[in-house]
Amino acid sequence: MRELFRRYGSGLTLLAAALTAFWLLALVIFPYLGLFEQSFRPYLPVVDVGGPKDVYSFNNYMSVFHNPTEIDFLGGKITVPIHLWVFMITIIYSGLTTIVSLLLCYPIAYYMAKVISPKSLPTFLLLLVVPMWVSELLRAFAWFIILAYKGPLTITLQSLGIITDPVHWTWGLGGYSGVIIGLNYAYILFMLFPLYNAMTSLDTNQIEAAQDLGAHWWQTHWRVIVPHTKPGIASGCVTVFMLSVGSILVPTLVSSPSSRWFTEIIQQWMFESQDWNTGAAYAFLLLIVCVIFVTLMMRLFKVGLADIAK
């Protein structure tokens, strides 16, 4: 603090501190605390708010365990609370999306960072920037069109003679194939750019040194390039996972009759039931999942918060 006053004088320091305080208190900390507090309150008619019935409880969170429903699972049938099921599915398929986009992006990041000629790189980047800057909505909408029943994908494959009957592309994986395809497409560049940035900072001499010492290409990757890319991997995984878990547009647009996403249930509480308290509890669950995932990634890759937020 003393350093600040010395550098910027009391007037500017107080101004910067006031702006930052408004941002962090009014826009971040207090709303988060408010969400936390509200999530323990019962949903009551307006007259009862603040009255004897308005006491803290875990009831809102317990809603996750209501409504046991029979669900097709790996060929058999199991009975689970429906919201809990959707919660788990959301986490698992978001994790799957994260891993798939990591695997898809790694070779491209390596290609961009170490293989492509410096002359073609700007063009390559330019071609990537276009889908990056087109909004999430349009990226999801594109797959809404492509995967439509009797849509372009079906027609193309039919004309190539690969399939004969129309396919419900979104019905696979228990109704989640479309969502996974859409999530992957919508967020893949949030994986690619952190990987690419991390890899460009690797001295090419290190790769050559490893090869010179007789390492196979896969040994070079595993022992030299991947360890160096860790901050990028962590950053990309956190971003893709967070966006997938919290996605609303993709599960809405590229959906099948049986694909429900946790954010859709939150919307249901907020807009259809008008039960903002349970909505807050569910939103808080989503936040906890993200916090756990970030912590996991920081532990797993031994990186700091600053590496992830790049």
């Binding site: 007037g11 408004f22 826009l27 709303p31 700007p122 878990v245 609303i248």
Partner: protein
């Protein structure tokens, strides 16, 4: 060391694979956008380029005559401008503050600042809605501005902070030593150094705001932005006029990207000329 006879070949093969794969990757990224754009010109009631039923521009004129689209476009721009006006000062002030701190207070402040970046937009939207509702502030686009700014300010902060880290603190001291007040130092020395990052942050903030769905969805009340309007319309039967809009947006993106690239090349050439001098 004996050379492996197949080394040259595997090297070639590896790069061939990479080149081929990168081509497929670009194809995967770009074709869906092309399909979406093509559907805007298809004379079919369903938004799809296949089956092709003839060329038409009717979806563009439909779009042009849709007064909701115009209204929500206006809303979108107003929100985006306000988000820029709020998040740029907040993010810049935050960056200057966090850059001058050290140790635990820095880590703590930094952690709180980037928390919104790592939080799903729905959570931000709902917490913003609930918080301001306690003060009897109803939902509406003003809340969307606040909700979006909470995490967009963090993007600005990260960009300004990166730029600040390349700033030589001795310049501040030199300015003060020469008699400048702190305000003069800020205006003449620090801010000019930060302008590129602030400008880039403002552009990013603008586009982030325009495309935002999740946070806006929960804070907007009865008002609409373009993204929210289209997002909610898709399921209830969509017409290819949305494809026309998408085509316009993609075109604008491409034009923007090309302008950026041309400017970048010009700047690179200018730098090269300067260094030669």
């Amino acid at each position: 060391m004996p050379t492996l006879p197949s080394e040259g070949l595997t090297d070639m093969g590896k790069h061939f694979f990479l080149r081929f794969y990168s081509f497929v990757f670009l194809f995967y990224l770009l074709v869906p956008l092309a399909v979406m754009a093509a559907a805007a010109f298809n004379d079919s009631a369903f938004p799809s380029p296949m089956p092709w039923k003839g060329f038409t521009l009717q979806w563009f004129s439909k779009l042009y005559n849709d007064e909701y689209i115009w209204q929500y476009t206006g809303n979108t721009f107003v929100v985006a401008v306000f988000v820029v006006l709020v998040s740029v000062p907040l993010g810049t002030a935050g960056a200057i503050l966090v850059n001058s701190l050290t140790g635990r207070s820095k880590a703590l402040l930094y952690g709180v600042m980037i928390a919104p970046v790592l939080t799903p937009g729905a959570v931000i939207g709902i917490s913003t809605l609930l918080f301001w509702y306690k003060f009897n502030v109803p939902a509406g686009l003003h809340l969307s501005v606040l909700g979006q700014s909470s995490f967009i300010a963090a993007y600005v902060m990260l960009m300004v902070l990166a730029r600040l880290q390349s700033f030589d603190g001795a310049l501040e001291e030199a300015a003060l030593d020469l008699g400048a007040t702190h305000a003069q130092m800020l205006r003449r020395i620090l801010l000019p150094h930060l302008y590129p990052a602030i400008a880039a942050g403002a552009v990013l903030a603008f586009f982030q705001s325009i495309e935002n769905f999740n946070t806006t969805q929960f804070t907007r009340g009865a008002s609409n932005t373009l993204t929210v309007y289209i997002g909610s319309k898709v399921r209830s039967g969509i017409k290819p006029d949305i494809n026309a809009l998408a085509t316009i947006m993609i075109s604008l993106t491409i034009i923007g990207a090309i302008i950026y690239e041309v400017m970048r090349r010009r700047e690179a050439a200018r730098q090269a000329a300067l260094n030669l001098e």
